[in-house]
């Protein structure tokens, strides 16, 4: 199964003097069950693209096929509420959206809103909070009284409580400290492995993208420049130079080694793999 964008164009303020084409005739297929990163400079259309996935934005032209549904431009599309439950969208700085009296109530809000009973909603909320590593002792305190990293996790739990098939996250690690960021990423990797949840992440952090995204989509000025394996994108010198991709440091180091004469296995992703590989090469001689 795949998510298919077909000749999809999105124009902000269509027909107005300030009309702005944010997505320009996008044809894109995203594979379900994978972790896909969407990268590109600020203003390239990343957020606009993912906001189509749960029909928060509807296409100006073209269509989107997602989870047995087709959303077509300028038609009355039904069943969007159900789609929004199945495609969970976590905004940038999602912690600003917490509002309930207690953490447990905040997370239970989503399921209740979709018709779950009080008891069911609480149950779902507890499961979701467990997934993001928020302990029971926090349940009854205000979501506004915890640290920034915890708030972010609570906001994500609010979406996870809906048990989405597709989880879309816009810059989920921005502003978190390195430990907080890597814990966050591990939550997504586990969801993907254990529940086969499709993970789509908008990110500026190419180090992180290189480390864990199966596939990467590179956007520029509302167009898709690349869609494929993450390793293939960053190993493609021509593309990464042309679009000024900030290369992960490990890629830069691999390039330096190649310049000195080494032949480096393109599948190496981490320093550990690299050091072991080179130790072998050196001892061979």
């Amino acid at each position: 199964m795949a998510i298919n964008f077909k000749s999809l164009t999105y124009i902000y303020d269509e027909g107005m003097p300030y009309a702005h084409k944010a997505l320009d005739d996008i044809n894109l297929s995203l594979i379900e069950g994978k972790i896909t990163a969407i990268i590109g400079q600020t203003g390239s259309g990343k957020s606009t693209l993912v906001e189509h996935l749960n029909a928060l934005l509807l296409p100006s032209f073209g269509s989107l096929e997602i989870l047995d549904r087709t959303i077509v431009a300028k038609q009355k599309n039904t069943g969007l509420k159900a789609l929004r439950k199945e495609v969970g969208l976590v905004f940038q700085f999602s912690e600003y959206q917490l509002f309930e009296e207690t953490i447990l109530k905040d997370v239970a809000f989503g399921p209740k809103n979709y018709g779950a009973s009080e008891q069911e909603a609480i149950q779902k909320a507890k499961e979701a909070l467990k997934l993001v590593g928020i302990e029971e002792k926090y349940y009854d305190i205000s979501p506004l009284d915890v640290s920034g990293g915890q708030k972010r996790r609570i906001a994500i739990a609010g979406i996870l409580a809906l048990e989405p098939k597709i989880l879309v996250l816009d810059e989920p690690t921005a502003g978190l400290d390195p430990k907080g960021a890597s814990e966050m990423i591990n939550i997504f990797i586990n969801l993907n492995k254990q529940k086969n949840t499709t993970i789509i992440i908008v990110s500026h952090d190419n180090e992180m993208v290189y480390n864990f995204a199966d596939n990467t989509v590179l956007m520029d000025h509302g167009k898709v420049i690349f869609n494929g394996l993450t390793l293939d994108l960053f190993n493609n010198k021509e593309l990464s130079d042309k679009y000024n991709l900030l290369k992960p440091k490990i890629v830069l180091f691999k390039e330096l080694l190649t310049k000195n004469g080494f032949k480096i296995d393109p599948n190496i992703r981490t320093i550990e793999e690299l050091s072991k590989y080179l130790a072998k090469e050196i001892n061979k001689k």
Binding site: G180, S275, L278
Partner: protein
């Protein structure tokens, strides 16, 4: 050397008095939960100091105390000999500017020019002088071409530059950057870091940067590591990573180049260089030496 007693005392005082002196500082938001616990350290004039520590270590609280936005529970902070308290707050604030994390929360003008002018207007600077000052600092931070643009037309990095120009226009001695690059995209981040380095090179400003960006530490003079409200380490920036294990214990990251060195160390390959280029060369030499 022989000085009369009084004279040597004066000299002594001059030498020991640091520009920013923090002594036995304690602070808590709620009772019995010290966010800063007996903190003491000094910062010298014209230096660039990074303050690192994970979320909740007390970094931002410390910055707010230095700026007089919060009041210490006990202990003291002195800036240029003046204690930060209600009496001195106006003289302290005139010496100090802050650049905050979120570029959207600190843009108050309707255009770039208005935004930079805001502080100057408060200071009742004459119109003619104001134009010169705005142009000077807009040029220094690289926003001269956007003076008449609205904030919505600017990227995050550009907005942060405007915030910096606004701070510089007030002629501060101290600039505090409170995670000023953490919400920016990679280009914005690297632009602002370059600008901070340039400002530091002028030696005109004492720069304090609260940051999560371990690579930024390598650009600064000194690094203060906070953990659970206490000083965990305070040293020259280049030395702070010498004891990587100690930093890992408190969940802090170390720069990439050091990680490379460590990984090869584990494979019994000892690298002498500290930069990636040098390491790549060394490794290649190892293959050809055999």
């Amino acid at each position: 050397m022989c000085y009369s007693n009084t004279f040597s005392k004066v000299v002594y005082n001059r030498i020991v008095m640091s520009f920013i002196e923090v002594k036995d500082l304690c602070f808590s938001y709620v009772e019995d939960n010290l966010v800063l616990d007996n903190l003491s350290f000094n910062i010298e004039k014209g230096t660039y100091t990074c303050i690192i520590g994970h979320n909740g270590s007390g970094k931002s609280t410390l910055a707010k105390l230095i700026a007089g936005l919060l009041e210490a529970k006990s202990g003291s902070i002195k800036i240029d000999g003046l204690e930060v308290n209600a009496t001195n707050i106006h003289s302290i604030r005139s010496k100090l500017g802050i650049v905050f994390q979120n570029p959207d929360n600190q843009f108050i003008g309707s255009t770039v020019r208005d935004d930079i002018a805001f502080g100057l207007e408060n200071k009742q600077i004459k119109r003619e002088e104001m134009d010169d000052i705005i142009n000077k600092y807009a040029k220094e931070v690289g926003v001269l071409d956007f003076l008449d643009k609205e904030p919505t037309a600017l990227s995050g990095g550009q907005k942060q530059r405007v915030a910096i120009a606004g701070v510089l226009a007030m002629n501060p001695e101290i600039i505090i950057f409170d995670e000023a690059t953490s919400m920016l995209d990679p280009k914005g981040k690297s632009d602002i870091k370059k600008l901070m380095s340039l400002l530091s090179d002028t030696k005109k400003y004492t720069i304090i940067s609260i940051t999560h960006d371990i690579e930024e530490v390598l650009l600064s003079d000194n690094c203060l590591v906070l953990n659970k409200g206490k000083v965990y380490a305070y040293s020259k920036a280049k030395d702070v990573f010498n004891n990587a294990e100690e930093l890992r214990k408190i969940d802090l990251d170390i720069p990439f180049s050091l990680k490379v060195k460590e990984a090869f160390n584990k494979q019994h390959i000892k690298l002498k260089s500290n930069d990636l280029e040098g390491m790549a060369k060394e490794l290649w030499q190892l293959t050809s030496n055999h």
